[in-house]
Symmetry: C3
Subunit: 348 residues, 3 copies
């Protein structure tokens, strides 16, 4: 796939400065641009790279005024970042795609498979499972019995969906993710051993959800663990049984949510966060990296620290924590001085 500057400018409704016939077949970062690639300049910090970049074409803002001559072809657009994102989309969509059922795959005779699908070799589609139109089940993925997968959804290689789970439309589930494994529920017995509580519920993943590689979402004890529409979960996240993650909430890698906790919509949860069980996290909540959440959180709050506190308080507490050795010395000094003062007064 090669594209000329003129074709790209037309697509982006931008204006060209330089050779409109130069062509590119890949993208690059402006700081390590190579001939035959297209880069973009959005952040002014990177402007210095434009004068020497070897990229053949660079997207810049309409208002951009070079301080020195540039060698590459410029395409001026309103928002270079969004234009670049549009081109990346185009680039990815132009990649060759696979369709049909690659052999050997296992598709149970009772399963229903839509049109324009891809089912890769060694993929497994269980009893009564359904795969909607346009969906892609990559090699070695496992779709359990009665699982329903919507339209235009991608299940990458080796992702595992246990029986009875429901995955919506336009979802992406990355390699190694496990959806619907048993919740961690055990009842202690008098002899110190534990008896498993059967976990008979499922996981419902609504439309437009992306789930990262090796993330695990456990099925509910009964009823459903739910990931709401538009939520985005990064890699290696753990969502325990009976949880709910709200609409358009994004969670970064390695965050864990214990059982029966409900997280609201439009939240931003950073990486390595731990959220205890049976909590209610409101809407538009922001939780900083490595935060430990042990209480309910109200709408719109920003928390940090472990155990978590208000963001501003946490930042101040962090500063004092760093200076604790000095604070201790100060207090000891005060003790001495006060003692000396009292002794002196007693003498007098």
């Amino acid at each position: 796939m090669e594209f000329k500057a003129i074709t790209i400018a037309d697509f982006l409704q931008g204006t060209i400065e330089g050779d409109e016939n130069v062509s590119v077949n890949n993208v690059s970062k402006i700081e390590d641009g190579k001939p035959g690639t297209l880069a973009f300049l959005a952040n002014p910090k990177y402007e210095k790279y434009i004068y020497d970049t070897k990229a053949s074409i660079v997207l810049v803002r309409n208002e951009f005024k070079p301080e020195k001559p540039v060698k590459c072809t410029l395409i001026r657009v309103e928002d270079p970042y969004q234009s670049m994102a549009a081109l990346l989309d185009l680039y990815q969509q132009a990649k060759p795609q696979k369709f049909g059922v690659e052999q050997p795959a296992f598709v149970d005779s009772t399963a229903t498979v839509g049109n324009n699908i891809y089912i890769g070799a060694f993929a497994y589609i269980g009893v009564n499972a359904t795969v909607g139109d346009g969906s892609k089940i990559y090699p070695q993925a496992y779709i359990g019995n009665n699982v329903r997968i919507g339209v235009n959804t991608i299940i990458f290689s080796g992702a595992k969906i246990y029986d009875d789970c429901v995955i919506g439309d336009n979802c992406i589930i990355h390699a190694g993710a496990v959806i619907g494994a048993d919740g961690f529920g055990f009842a202690p017995t008098p002899d110190g051993s534990y008896k498993k509580i059967a976990q008979v519920g499922n996981v419902i993943v609504e439309d437009d959800v992306e789930i990262g590689a090796n993330t695990t979402i456990d099925c509910s004890t009964m009823g459903s663990t739910i990931i709401r529409k538009g939520a985005k979960l990064d890699n290696q996240i753990q969502i325990a049984h009976n949880c709910e993650v709200g609409e358009n909430t994004v969670m970064a890698a390695m965050t864990g949510v214990a059982g029966s906790t409900k997280i609201g919509k439009n939240c931003i949860v950073a990486g390595h966060v731990g959220i205890a069980g049976h909590l209610n996290i409101g809407d538009r909540v922001t939780l900083g990296a490595m935060a430990g959440i042990t209480n309910n959180v109200k709408d719109g709050k920003t928390l940090l620290g472990s155990p978590a506190m208000d963001h501003d308080r946490a930042l101040k507490a962090f500063v004092v924590t760093r200076r604790l050795p000095e604070l201790k010395t100060t207090v000891e000094q005060l003790q001495k001085e006060l003692k000396a003062l009292k002794a002196k007064l007693n003498e007098e």
Copy 2:
């Protein structure tokens, strides 16, 4: 599968109030009960839901006295939670089960496979491996050479058991778990690179152990990494080489144990805990969520915090940590006051 109230009451040895012929085909939580489902009421906090629940049958304590009329059929039992657990078990056991070897599977000609087993499509059973009676190896699971799997054990889809490992009876290993990968052992060399130390040991998982999705348990350098009878490990746990996890110890998700550490029996380890290497953690120890354990822990201790301290001390330290900005201000105020006082005394 539909069950009448009368059948369920007989099974549970409970007594019916209401329509004994109403039937259910699923379970639900009392707060979002649906017609045709059975719910339970154990925690008094949820009593308010019983008057409006749409569940057709609700299990309640023998002593339960409704304050208002209830529409559903009640089944009175001694312990609604345990009765529910028994029903969930029944419900799960009644699900259709697969038996036999689904094609294509790879079962090495030297492997030994028991009776009443299930081996799913694309599962791999290596040289000299054995799978005991009644065990189920789900699709795409990998059973390495010389692995021994006991009776009535379930290895879910895509779990990987490296060569020479031993899995006991009545175990459940969830999807994506990796048992027996190489321990992380390297010797530094003079040029700054690292030389791998071959890891020739194995992992022994004793009977009645459950291992969560995407959990990893490394093989020992030599000898065995051991998970003792009845231990329950949640998802995404990491057990490094040469460790031992004691009998009936439960560990929540995302906890990591570094090499050569021994954890005693009947411990409760919460989520996201980090335990350093070469430690000895006693029996009946409780470690709170996100705790960082850097020293040996005696039997029966409850620790919290990172680095961890006694539970009560940690709770107090957490309170002071939140108030550190104010404490610092107080100390500075004391400094000023003392200085002023000294100045005043010197003047006098």
Copy 3:
């Protein structure tokens, strides 16, 4: 495989004390040695075990002087630990190895496969992929389109390599690792939902790298996420898009690195560490377990704590943190005493 003491001593260029014809077929730790096994004694703490060990042969230092009679055969060497490592290597290399393509495997007709390779059953090799001489692709591994795998590299069962990634020579990638899944990149839209930014880059893993079980390394948005030569990554590590991990850097389990961070060479990163995005971590940096890194780190620094601080400062701060309840009491006591003193002086 059985080896006589005399053969082992020859191989290690050591000297024998005791029965040179005793033979062993396995290794053991000295503290739980069994007849027919070989153990080693490097750490003097373990010397007490040598007098009673049931191991048939024990490697000891040339200078070792037993205080009591030993029953086992001794082989004296310069460095028992290195000698043991050499024997473990030998032991592992002597294990039977598989070669060829096990059926059924999926090898695309456009893929290129070298000599002396092993491709296990249910492994998938995509369009235009290449697998170098001597490499082993275990059962159920996934090698995407255009992936290049070097020579003598091992991809264990169920590891997944997305399209376009590059894996060097002499690498080991453990089961369940996911290389090249989409970076976590989304642009917020006015209605609160998120639009995916296509991630069209790849992952480059250079030579001599080991990647642990269930570790995830995301592809770059454009360009490459890079793991440099000789780096060793433990299990369940997360490397986000656009990162770089330097030469000979070792990282322990469950550590996460957010997007676009660059880590230098010869660093040691302990377990459960979190490193924020867009940072620059220098060379020879050491980060302690559970550290939270929020700022750039200079060459050679050792940091600890979350948020991280200099190692020595952190240790002192930890000590004060434990004693915070007492510090608070001391400050309150000072307040009281000072108030009393002032009152007394005012009275006088």
